[in-house]
């Protein structure tokens, strides 16, 4: 499947780009993270501590063990600081 993967705040800075299109067979968010972290150091650095990260699937907050089937857009970012 082909996913739009988006990065925000320091995740974006660490990986060095705001979004990319990724072809993957990862069944879950965690599997996608493992796949990305294995790519390059900058990805490994960004995904080193999952407790410091949040994920949204198709613009809804989700969990790292959520399945990716049917998903088109995945976003990774730090805890939000709105308001």
């Amino acid at each position: 499947m082909i996913l739009d993967v988006l990065y925000f705040a320091w995740v974006r800075e660490r990986i060095g780009l705001p979004r990319e299109r990724i072809e993957t067979k990862a069944p879950t968010v965690a599997a996608l993270v493992a796949e990305l972290a294995a790519r390059e150091d900058r990805y490994a650095a960004a995904f080193a501590d999952l407790s410091a990260l949040r994920v949204a699937l198709d613009q809804d907050l989700s969990d790292f063990d959520a399945p990716l089937s049917g998903v088109r857009e995945v976003a990774f970012f730090p805890p939000m600081t709105g308001g």
């Binding site: 988006l6 925000f8 705040a9 320091w10 949204a56 613009q59 809804d60 907050l61 976003a75 970012f77 730090p78 805890p79 939000m80 600081t81 709105g82 308001g83």
Partner: protein, 148 residues
């Protein structure tokens, strides 16, 4: 519009007076306004990043949840993104209800959810350094009081 995400400044006075005038049958209006606070060392600026598309969706859902939980005549959320300076308005919420308890509770609920569940990230610049504002444990803890 009851949910607005925008780069430009909003007019706090006009928004508050307009909201109260539209909700005048309600009797009680609460507003919260967030402003860019200066920091030790002097803040040269703050940039607010957001997630276009998800932001509007999240704010609309948070507002709908507040309208469902309390007896509200109306609720408004305005949140800015982009480059801000110390003292600038960041965002506001307004709630209107018959009795004050609902308007107060709903405004606090909106703020707690905005702080930790709306996709905004603040980056502060002090001199030539910049740093992402860390989420506060108190903000995450504040959410727990709204769980059933």
């Amino acid at each position: 519009m009851t949910v607005r995400v925008q780069e430009e400044l909003f007019d706090l006075g006009a928004e508050t007076a307009g909201f109260a005038a539209r909700a005048s049958g309600a009797g009680a209006v609460v507003t919260f306004t967030g402003l860019v606070r200066d920091v030790p060392g002097g803040l040269s600026g703050m940039e607010i990043e957001h997630y276009p598309g998800m932001t509007e969706k999240a704010l609309t859902a948070i507002r709908a949840e507040a309208m469902a939980r309390w007896s509200l005549a109306d609720a408004l959320i305005i949140h800015r993104y982009g480059q801000l300076r110390p003292g600038d308005l960041i965002m506001m919420v307004a709630t209107a209800s018959r009795h004050r308890a609902d308007a107060f509770a709903a405004a606090e609920f909106l703020m707690d959810y905005l702080k930790s569940r709306a996709p905004f990230w603040k980056n502060e610049r002090v001199g030539s350094d910049s740093a992402w504002v860390a989420a506060r444990d108190e903000d995450e803890a504040a959410l727990s009081r709204w769980q059933d």
